[in-house]
Symmetry: C2
Subunit: 107 residues, 2 copies
Amino acid sequence: MRITAGDIIAIGPGKISLLEAIDETGSLTAGAKTLDMSYRRAWLLLDELNGSLKRPAVTSAKGGPEGGGSELTDVGRQLIELYRRIESTAVEACAEDLKQMLHLLAR
Amino acid sequence: MRITAGDIIAIGPGKISLLEAIDETGSLTAGAKTLDMSYRRAWLLLDELNGSLKRPAVTSAKGGPEGGGSELTDVGRQLIELYRRIESTAVEACAEDLKQMLHLLAR
């Protein structure tokens, strides 16, 4: 599930998984690694996410990515919670139609 | 909203809008044009979509893209209907959480 507002803002599985990985590992570098994501891609995703929010989802301690570690803000935690709840509510509400759609797919 | 099954199959707004545009215009070329999409991108999207389905969503008459025109199959129509219904059901079921998520976004 990917939430878009206009063409610009998108909250999707990549950004949410990244937030969860940062939360688990305490750093952007380590979080990216658990997702098999390059540091560069993770940094860009997070930069885009923070730029689309009123307040950032992650703060980094001084010392840079290697030195300081990263921590989720309240906004970051709220985003994860909302996204995961929206995902499960939507899947539940649409179960029958999703099943029919899966029947059309060759797998 | 984008529906993924594993990493490979994705039904999202681009493919569904393309099906709708082909249905309205009767051809891939004209459909792509109404979406400001290159013919090449439209062809690739449709090829990927057809490849992910048990039966194709669109059939093209002989004569190629310029000559023959394209038509939706029953599967194509079903996909549009299911996708649009899933979308509206999900938005309705998640209205409150989506509203809260939008509040976090800078717009």
